[in-house]
Symmetry: C2
Subunit: 209 residues, 2 copies
């Protein structure tokens, strides 16, 4: 299938809530995040997007988006024409099946995020997020060691986890003091994955895909 490759600079909005985009994107390189702005101006981050993630499956149905997506770093996208995809789907049950599987998996991820917010302390949430992100990175582009480019501001973490930026700062200090991670100048290092997992799991060994 034909597709265009698009580059987008950090901080740019990629798609906006209520848009009815004509294209669907695969995030090819870089980080982005899905979010909504609440009427009082606060921002809820729904999830972070890493290379391999899809943006806007809704496009296939011509449904308006329920969230915006913003680039966190410079980002490379592959754009697919929504109409072409819809047509391909008609013809290929295999493709279609793939898509259903993908959206079922997405729903499962969202369930996991609900679990993650349910009844966990700040420390568990932050530790869990870091584990989830680094695991996903390892899985996708077999990163060798335990060092990661980490483009999130503490405010992003706060907006994703339902905490304040101030409290995220304190929480990260705890993780540092525990010797679990170090984080400076956007480089994250997992110093003690074991310990970090304990801090995250304290309650649950589950649900942090």
């Amino acid at each position: 299938m034909r597709h265009d490759s698009i580059m987008i600079p950090a901080r740019r909005i990629i798609v906006r809530k209520s848009d009815v985009p004509m294209q669907m994107f695969t995030l090819y390189d870089g980080w982005a995040f899905r979010f909504v702005l609440l009427p009082d101006g606060r921002r809820q981050i729904l999830s972070f997007l890493l290379p391999g993630d899809l943006i806007g499956i809704q496009a296939i149905y011509g449904d308006p988006l329920r969230f915006s997506v913003q680039a966190l770093t410079d980002v490379t996208l592959c754009a697919f024409n929504a109409k072409e995809i819809a047509e391909a789907m008609q013809k290929s049950p295999a493709q279609m099946k793939h898509l259903v599987a993908r959206s079922i998996r997405e729903a499962a991820d969202a369930d996991n995020r609900v679990i993650g917010l349910g009844r966990r302390t700040a420390t568990e949430r932050v530790a869990g997020l870091i584990l989830k992100l680094t695991n996903a990175l390892k899985r996708r582009k077999s990163v060798p060691g335990e060092n990661f480019a980490f483009p999130l501001r503490q405010e992003h973490i706060a907006d994703a986890l339902g905490l304040t930026a101030v409290h995220v700062s304190r929480t990260i200090s705890i993780l540092r003091d525990e010797g679990a991670i170090s984080l400076e100048r956007n480089i994250l290092t997992i110093r003690d994955r074991q310990r970090l997992t304990e801090l995250a799991d304290h309650n649950e060994a589950l649900a942090l895909t």
Copy 2:
């Protein structure tokens, strides 16, 4: 398509996490809920299921379930054979499309639950849940007035919203004192929908589909 109608008594587990069910169900009558048990014994309720909801789309793919489902009241289900459905899907793109649409919608619902847990007070959460449930009931089986059979224990509410049962009790007292609702012997009455909406929205007019 052939299907069987099944009756299940209140409190019975309908499907269990990690099952690979051979059937998919439509909840025809009654209430149920999806949940996971965390290793420490706590329960996170993912969502409540009302008449019209599907249980276990995953079945079509032979994927194991990521959650259990339990009946809250006596419940009537329509069971569809998963294999038959999968075959029907192969043949009918329209059916398939319908399914994709459904699972996309489910993911959107899960996003909304994330928003709902993000950074809201106990009062907002409880008021929001009550609004969401009563709206859904009204939409599905055009209930006439503002009285609803309400089979949830306060512990269910707590497990869904990430609060303690004790605090849910206090919160409901507030809603009562505000004149927004009354709730006794499993009958919920919305006394002042306007006020209830204010208490829920205080921050956001959004996301309580």
